[in-house]
Chain length 343, copies 2
């Protein structure tokens, strides 16, 4: 009963938060989020609270889309699919859930965010976490080695939702992949061309597309004296450079990830310790000439490819928006080569 | 270990089934289904069987769609959406899962087929079983009383899959609903016009759309002496008239559902005991004049509406394909009035 009293108190406080926001004419998203919290608290009180115990809401971290929002989605998807098709891609579809074992061991630390289905007899299933692993399963199952495919579908992550920032537990991914053997960097350049095309058509304002190559990062880690077994952990910390200050990143590397700070001088000459480094073919060229980094085979391969990539991007006329950014890293285990992110 | 030996034997037998089908050049669907059974057996053997314990398959009752199949889907959806839009409908979207309590008590016996999500802390969730209950939740939550909306999305049922007959555990529903107050039968006639339009455009061959009204069935049950509390159970048996012979239906009514067979003569004159009865406005008129059925208020209301419906269908020029069929019944608890089925 003490718990219930506590919940009732929280409902009262939360009710005031909502009323205040409404009085201040806060944004609809902000009000909706606080109302959702209020409804959740009311749900906690359970069904024995009055007649209206039945709560009308969507699951935490999910939302409905009304006709106006759907009209916008349709317009956006048309632009995306149009570009995918112009570039000769086909589409496939896979089920919303996969065998649990298909997803296991693919997402590293993030595996805890996978939604599992209840064991109701039969196979153990999980909701897809992305479209990449189902695509890989599809290719392997059908022994397909060559395909240019897109897949637009919802994926599911039991993350902490931040709905005002558009971070949901159910959300769409629009994947475009080229599987097969090609001359180096040609498919990569085409993917960047497509992203450029779509973002331009959607007219969302100015944008930059960041690219990096895991081999360059790994090579740099090696040269700086990061032990092999810490590459992934340190990489996922580097990924935070665009969100938190350098001091916090350094702190996480040393105190959480147990990195012994490299002796000064081990750093490649082209890379200042505390700043994010960006550029184009010029930056790749500069790093290739670095006396330390140029000794690392992996880094050289990555940098040579990066230079080549920018040659193609030049031909596609998209170098104005694509940036080679050393601070770009991704946490997932299956990224081995180039990675891209729009910002 | 005995179990494993048994499974190995079953794998051997099933392997022969597959080989035989291939030798006979059986249909791809049939072979695929038997291969799926084989893979499932192999999965049962578990991971300690050799190196390749990892099974590449989709979850039971689900499938992938390759680019050719997706091209067909796109063509079909375009025809459907085109018709929905011509009739002035908007679209909405809702999450793939709902609070478990939102779905509870809506599907009668079929509730056991709902997929639940594992309790990983937080709310108890279930995958949507149809698009109707989420739509009702959406209307109630947003206090919407008037909307003409369509919703095309996948739904989930832990049914016994019969993949050769196209019966899957994950499948699309294309819902079109008109919510609000209108003159009787006008929205109903429009829905039938839309189904007619879509099936004609898809050019799938000849078709018939069956319609009936729960009130007519209920009235008929009452007149025949079926007790009120058995209406639903008997109704779901009537629903089988198009799948099994009359003797089996009668047998289920009497022996399983405990119906005391009505005395002869209680049956409305227009309805022969053992045959399925079909017609149009003429059949509604004939039943309205039946001395027994015309005494039942519910049945009369249903029959009057059916006559009115056919007046509008005449204006829409679709009476060639729409049939008033007394054998059409639906099992779900939320059907109260008219029901439609394509066949």
């Amino acid at each position: 009963m003490a718990d219930k009293a506590q919940t009732r108190l929280e409902i009262k406080t939360q009710g005031e938060v909502v009323r205040k926001l409404k009085a201040e004419k806060a944004s609809k998203e902000q009000i909706d989020e606080e109302v959702a919290k209020l409804l959740e608290l009311k749900a906690q009180l359970g069904e024995d609270e009055g007649k209206q115990g039945f709560v009308l809401k969507t699951a935490k971290g999910t939302r409905d889309y009304n006709p106006k929002q759907m009209a916008i989605r349709e317009r956006v998807f048309n632009a995306i699919v149009g570009s995918f098709k112009r570039h000769g891609a086909e589409t496939i579809d896979t089920p919303v859930f996969e065998l649990k074992e298909t997803l296991m061991g693919k997402y590293g630390e993030d595996s805890k965010l996978i939604y599992d289905l209840k064991d109701q007899g039969g196979e153990l299933l999980s909701l897809r976490y992305d479209l990449t692993v189902p695509f890989a399963r599809y290719l392997a199952m059908n022994k397909i080695t060559n395909i240019k495919r897109y897949h637009i579908a919802k994926v599911y992550r039991r993350d902490n939702p931040a709905m005002t920032r558009g971070r949901y537990r159910e959300f769409y991914q629009c994947d475009f992949d080229i599987a097969g053997q090609y001359d180096p960097m040609i498919p990569d350049a085409e993917c960047l061309k497509i992203v450029h095309e779509i973002l331009s058509e959607l007219d969302l304002g100015d944008f930059r597309i960041k690219v990096n190559d895991r081999r360059i990062l790994d090579g740099m880690f090696a040269v700086c004296g990061v032990p092999d077994e810490k590459f992934r952990a340190i990489c996922s910390t580097v990924d935070k450079l665009d969100k938190v200050p350098w001091e916090d990143v350094k702190n996480e590397m040393v105190n959480e990830k147990g990195l012994v700070w490299p002796r000064s001088g081990s750093r490649p000459a082209g890379v200042p310790a505390e700043r994010k480094v960006k550029g184009g073919a010029d930056l790749a060229q500069k790093l290739l000439q670095d006396p330390k980094l140029s000794q690392n085979k992996q880094a050289c391969a990555g940098l040579a490819d990066m230079k080549l990539l920018f040659t193609y991007l030049e031909l596609f006329r998209v170098t104005d928006k694509v940036v080679f950014d050393l601070s770009l890293a991704r946490g997932l285990d299956y990224y081995t080569g180039r990675s891209t992110r729009r910002c």
